[in-house]
């Protein structure tokens, strides 16, 4: 055992402390035998769960050989709230607020998907105006979801400016969302058989204004990133998934299409009359981070196109189906006439029963294929409510994508997945 040494340092100050004693810095024992051998072992690094680069409470345990990722073990569940269990104790309309909190970056689209699943189970056909309003809600959600993705991913890779620009645009959509639903995040926009509210005054003009001014901002982001040498070298050839792998790993949404698989629920299992809208489905070729970026940016442009078409065709007429068993009567009627009050009471107390059966209904959400699976035993509460979360399956492929890459690339790949933990953990 070597002794503990005390070394007196030359200091710029007088070298004495307040008591006049010389300042001494004790150094630890240097024992060559005790030095850890960094060459023989791999380093184990814990990333998250509280870390901005994991985009939520995702925890990654990474085994590193130098800077090369050898193994990634993702851990999820930090935001697990038991939504599926809660849904079994609630009426179909009461589940809508839970869906705000799953994919909280695109709450309106979740609301739409949930009520459409319930309507399919109950055999309800919604009105034309309601369909168009729901298309607007879905596409606005896709835009804000992709804007968050674009801004945060650019920050992860080292570009700060796109974050400011995309969040500024997102704020405009949030203002529209707030005007429509009264909430910025917990929108609860839809009801079984209709919507919580029709569009407020002036909404259409504001939305048209947004649709005119949003593509130029995308063009600026495009100019800043798409041909940027740093962006290209950080994203091209990183986290590649071939088409076959993407299908086998169950990827969906932009992740799947960036790998060259042309599957878009809006195209291939159309809902809300999407087959009558004119839009393109962008497809990547390489399945890397760069292609995912290109696909998402193009999807935002296509969403703007869809919204413009929806505004052009927006029909007048009722938003809700004309069925007092399903839709709550207006408040004034519930207060003033007996029959409406009874319908109101029965709906609030007993809910809307669904016939015995089950349904799997999926929409194309910003993150991918969002599916809801309901099993009903004939009561007003589902026996089983299953969420098929797109980013759950997308993040499950992270080890496959990241292993063998540099650690800095792991951050880029993780960002390219576009995960949202509320939906993964539910």
């Amino acid at each position: 055992m070597a002794e503990t040494r005390t070394v007196t340092l030359d200091l710029a100050t007088s070298g004495t402390d307040a008591q006049g004693h010389p300042v001494r810095v004790p150094l630890g024992v240097v024992d060559p035998e005790a030095e850890p051998d960094f060459t023989a072992e791999n380093m184990l690094l814990n990333v998250g769960p509280q870390h901005p680069a994991t985009h939520g409470v995702l925890r990654l345990v990474v085994q590193l050989d130098g800077e090369v990722v050898q193994r990634v073990v993702p851990h999820i569940g930090y935001l697990h709230s038991g939504f599926e269990k809660l849904g079994e104790y609630r009426h179909y309309n009461q589940i809508v607020p839970l869906t705000d909190r799953t994919d909280y970056l695109a709450p309106m689209a979740n609301n739409v998907a949930l009520t459409m699943a319930a309507e399919q189970l109950m055999g309800i056909e919604v009105t034309e105006r309601c369909k168009v309003l729901r298309v607007i809600a879905c596409e606005l959600s896709r835009i804000i979801s992709h804007l968050v993705w674009l801004g945060t991913t650019a920050i992860d890779i080292g570009a700060f400016t796109p974050f400011l620009w995309t969040f500024q645009e997102r704020e405009k959509v949030y203002n529209l969302q707030e005007a429509w639903t009264g909430a910025r995040l917990t929108t609860s926009l839809t009801r079984v058989g209709g919507m919580m509210a029709d569009l407020p005054d002036g909404f259409e003009d504001s939305l048209r204004h947004f649709c005119r001014n949003f593509p130029p901002v995308l063009d600026e982001v495009d100019r800043l990133l798409t041909r940027n040498g740093i962006w290209i070298s950080r994203t091209q050839g990183i986290g590649v998934m071939t088409a076959e792998e993407a299908v086998n790993y169950g990827l969906s949404g932009p992740m799947l299409r960036a790998s060259g698989v042309a599957y878009d629920v809006r195209r291939d299992r159309p809902y809300l009359d999407y087959e009558t809208y004119d839009f393109d489905v962008p497809i990547g070729q390489h399945g890397d981070v760069y292609d995912r970026y290109l696909v998402r940016v193009e999807e935002m442009r296509q969403s703007t196109r869809i919204i413009e078409q929806a505004l052009d065709r927006l029909p007048d007429g009722p938003v809700n189906v004309d069925d007092p068993q399903v839709i709550l009567p207006p408040k004034s009627a519930a207060m003033n006439d007996m029959e409406s009050m009874i319908f109101h009471f029965k709906q609030v107390m007993e809910g809307v029963p669904a016939p015995v059966g089950e349904v799997y209904f999926a929409i194309e959400n910003g993150k991918g294929e969002l599916g809801y699976y309901f099993v009903s035993d004939g009561t007003a509460k589902p026996v089983r409510w299953r969420i098929r979360p797109p980013s759950f399956l997308n993040i499950a492929a992270l080890p496959k994508m990241a292993e063998g890459h540099l650690f800095a690339d792991l951050i880029a790949i993780n960002a390219s997945v576009d995960l949202v933990m509320g939906e993964i953990d539910r």
């Binding site: 791999n42 184990l44 345990v61 085994q63 193994r71 073990v73 851990h75 999820i76 569940g77 697990h80 038991g82 599926e84 269990k85 809660l86 104790y89 399919q120 189970l121 792998e245 299908v247 086998n248 790993y249 169950g250 698989v261 599957y263 291939d268 299992r269 059966g357 089950e358 349904v359 799997y360 999926a362 294929e369 599916g371 699976y373 099993v375 035993d377 026996v383 089983r384 299953r386 098929r388 759950f392 399956l393 499950a396 492929a397 496959k400 953990d425 539910r426």
Partner: protein, 210 residues
């Protein structure tokens, strides 16, 4: 009805049980012993080619007599066709079913979640451990109908247990093996984890119910 049902009957005979159509979606019940074989055939038979596993989940009904169902939602990407396959697991028998991870990689986390939430064991799964709940969670399986909505213990009891728990217990055996830190765990716990024993469900107190 999906035409795959006829070819399934031709290929597997009485292993294919009843067929239901609900909301225009075809549901085929398959014998639990041959579920993995049937699913592999559905993926690999050239005329079927269900190459995309959309979802794996389970359903427990409110009627306690009804068996638990494992649900596989399949899609043939090229044909845009969908099919739902179910296997029934009676509750008086061990809840086990063969894993389909060798067929679809996407089944990995989906099956882990079903194990975590329903306690259904997938034999042959490469890494079957809890996913959303933590490794040493011992109160059972949250999505089972006998699991109370608010959990088995009161809030204060949950806090007490959490404070008393060994913090190492929140690490999975998998990462402990990377870190070579499993030797820091208590002897008893290490043995338990190596056996694959996830702990004992404490008797619920009479204190409160769901």
């Amino acid at each position: 009805m999906n035409p795959t049902v006829d070819s399934l009957r031709r290929a597997f005979g009485d292993k294919v049980g009843r067929v239901i159509v609900s909301c225009d979606q075809t549901i085929v019940y398959v014998d639990r012993e041959s579920i993995a074989e049937v699913l592999r055939w559905l993926k690999e038979a050239p005329d079927e080619n269900y190459d995309y596993l959309v979802d794996v989940t389970a359903v427990e009904y409110r009627d306690p007599e009804r068996p638990i169902e494992v649900v596989y939602q399949l899609r043939a990407m090229a044909r845009r066709a969908e099919l739902r396959i179910k296997a029934e697991l009676p509750k008086d028998q061990p809840l086990t079913v063969e894993s389909v991870v060798p067929v679809w990689r996407s089944a990995d986390w989906l099956e882990r979640e079903v194990y975590d939430m329903f306690g259904i064991t997938f034999t042959g799964h490469p890494d079957l451990r809890r996913l959303l709940m933590w490794e040493t969670y011992a109160e059972g399986y949250p999505l089972r109908k006998d699991f109370p909505l608010r959990g088995r213990f009161s809030r204060s009891e949950q806090v007490r247990q959490a404070l008393a728990a060994n913090p190492e217990a929140h690490y999975s055996l998998d990462e402990l093996s990377i870190a070579q830190a499993q030797y820091d765990l208590p002897e008893e716990m290490r043995e338990r984890l190596e056996r694959g024993d996830r702990g004992r469900i404490p008797e619920p107190k009479e204190e409160r119910h769901g």
